[in-house]
């Protein structure tokens, strides 16, 4: 509880500082007469809040979030569906490791926003271009961590399973895969973070006819010199990222830690 209060107080102070420097608190006689930054450089929190409130009420931001999350989920799931089995294959077969594994290692080092120019040429200004970028962001890290996880499974588990009558496929699905779950889940989490970053970058670059996502709002905020919009959207991006982490991954990780006995307390 004490730690929660510490966190809340810290953020409250940050916002108060921001409000003071941008002239939001002048009506209470607090802060410099002239705001340190012009509102078009750094808008005060009240303006950002007003923008968010108005656009949440008229559902514009919610529908943009819907568009973005749909892209994110589809791309992410395709990335997982490809990445996990390919990672398993790469762990199992040397020749796949020496080919696809090395390719994955190389491409993982490439920020997926670098794919945007190619994606635009290959797919045009379409949903497919965005999906492609998201998949490129997710796939490689999921593939590599699955492979790594499978390689780190103690061989005794497979031996034990074989003596209990498990065939190779049964062992793979019911022993090696669950045994590597801590690695696979952290790979999925990293993949999610990469997917989210890739999609934001892609949406800023690619304005699609199919629908306005969050990233595109940020882009137009820049075009129209509306920094309050840019900052508001940045808040939403942070919020979505945090929520996904807390809602999707934290419970799974907590379960894994309890089961494996790897939690710190």
């Amino acid at each position: 509880m004490k730690r929660v209060i510490t966190t809340v107080v810290f953020f409250a102070l940050l916002i108060i500082l921001w409000a003071t420097l941008t002239g939001d608190l002048l009506r209470f006689g607090i802060g410099p007469e002239e705001p340190v930054w012009n509102p078009y450089v750094l808008p005060p929190p009240s303006v950002v809040g007003q923008y968010l409130w108005d656009n949440l009420i008229n559902l514009k931001l919610l529908s943009a979030m819907g568009v973005t999350l749909q892209r994110l989920l589809i791309g992410y799931i395709i990335g997982l569906v490809l990445g996990v089995p390919l990672g398993m294959l790469a762990a199992r077969f040397k020749c796949i490791n020496d080919t696809l594994g090395v390719l994955a290692l190389g491409l993982q080092a490439l920020p997926s926003v670098c794919w945007v120019p190619l994606a635009c040429i290959w797919f045009g200004q379409t949903e497919a271009a965005l999906l492609f970028v998201v998949i490129m962001g997710t796939l490689w890290s999921v593939l590599l961590s699955t492979q790594n996880g499978m390689k780190n499974v103690p061989p005794i588990y497979a031996r034990a399973a074989r003596t209990m009558g498990s065939g190779p496929l049964h062992t793979l699905i019911f022993v090696t895969l669950p045994a590597s779950a801590p690695f696979v889940v952290s790979g999925m989490k990293q993949g999610w973070a990469f997917a989210w970053r890739s999609l934001m970058a892609a949406e800023i670059y690619v304005s699609v006819v199919g629908g306005f996502g969050i990233g595109q709002y940020l882009h137009f905020g820049r075009e129209l010199q509306r920094m309050y919009q840019v900052i508001g959207i940045m808040f939403i991006i942070i919020l979505v990222g945090l929520l996904a982490d807390k809602l999707l991954f934290s419970p799974v990780e907590a379960w894994l830690h309890r089961r494996w006995g790897t939690d710190k307390e």
């Binding site: 074989r162 009558g165 089961r259 494996w260």
Partner: protein
């Protein structure tokens, strides 16, 4: 308890094991090591046999061959006259490390092998699993996570997991060597008790001579470099045996002297 479950636990399958002229080499970076040379032995139905010898004597290799995890280069291992070609449900193995699956709870681990046993439905399997947990005195911990258990408790669960599919033969590879002395003594009692109740053929590998005399009806001595089957001792002491018993210590001393003789001979070569 369901009729089928009772039937399942009241069955006592057991088998005769024979090993005929088995050779096994391992290739290492420094050349070929002969792990087993012309190993032959027979183990009767329901017998409790211990393999004892220093490291490198091929006792674990022979156990792995019987388990079907490794193949002999020459010779063969047979169960009731049928050659062993791979692992099978008729032989369950217990390892030095517990090898329990951390992603499953205790009962989930015991169920793992059972799930692959046909002719039982899941309810019956669960009853069978619970019976074996009760047999190893772990029934109160059915839903505990593996990491919450002590070393001794883990090996008990591993024992229940190996017993649950009702194998004919139980193979144990130094299962108690990582435990403290107190826990081990308790498990000596338990395993003898379970052997008398379940009448399995048990092959138990150890480098601890006293342990082998305490548990085995017959102790088979191995010598290293190359691994060979050298001699066997029949242990006729009454059960349950206590490892601190004097007669037991005497036999152990005799076996130790014999093993030392092999070692000295090997060193003077």
């Amino acid at each position: 308890m369901q009729e089928k479950t009772k039937q399942e636990i009241q069955e006592f399958p057991t088998a005769k094991l024979s090993v005929e002229h088995v050779y096994k080499d391992f290739k290492t970076k420094r050349g070929t090591v002969r792990a087993l040379e012309d190993a032959s032995l027979t183990i009767n139905e329901g017998e409790f046999v211990c393999f004892v010898g220093p490291s490198g004597c091929g006792k674990s290799t022979l156990l792995n061959i019987i388990a079907g995890l490794e193949k002999p280069d020459q010779g063969k291992a047979l169960i009731d006259g049928v050659p062993i070609t791979g692992p099978g449900r008729d032989r369950m193995m217990m390892f030095q490390e517990h090898a329990l699956f951390p992603w499953l709870d205790v009962i989930g681990n015991v169920m793992f092998g059972l799930k692959q046993k046909p002719n039982l439905n899941n309810k019956e399997r669960l009853e069978v699993a619970k019976y074996y947990l009760y047999l190893v005195k772990m029934d109160k911990f059915a839903h505990a996570n593996i990491h919450e258990l002590s070393g001794g408790m883990r090996q008990r669960v591993a024992l229940a997991r190996s017993l649950a599919p009702n194998p004919k033969i139980l193979l144990m590879d130094e299962p108690f060597s990582a435990l403290d002395a107190m826990t081990r003594e308790q498990l000596y009692g338990d395993i003898q008790d379970i052997w008398e109740k379940r009448r399995k053929t048990i092959v138990f590998v150890t480098h601890n001579v006293r342990e082998s005399v305490c548990l085995g009806s017959r102790v088979i001595l191995f010598s290293p470099h190359p691994g060979r089957v050298r001699k066997e001792f029949r242990v006729e002491l009454p059960r349950p045996r206590n490892i601190n018993n004097h007669d037991l210590a005497d036999i152990a001393r005799e076996i130790t002297a014999e093993l030392k003789g092999y070692q000295n001979a090997a060193e003077s070569d």
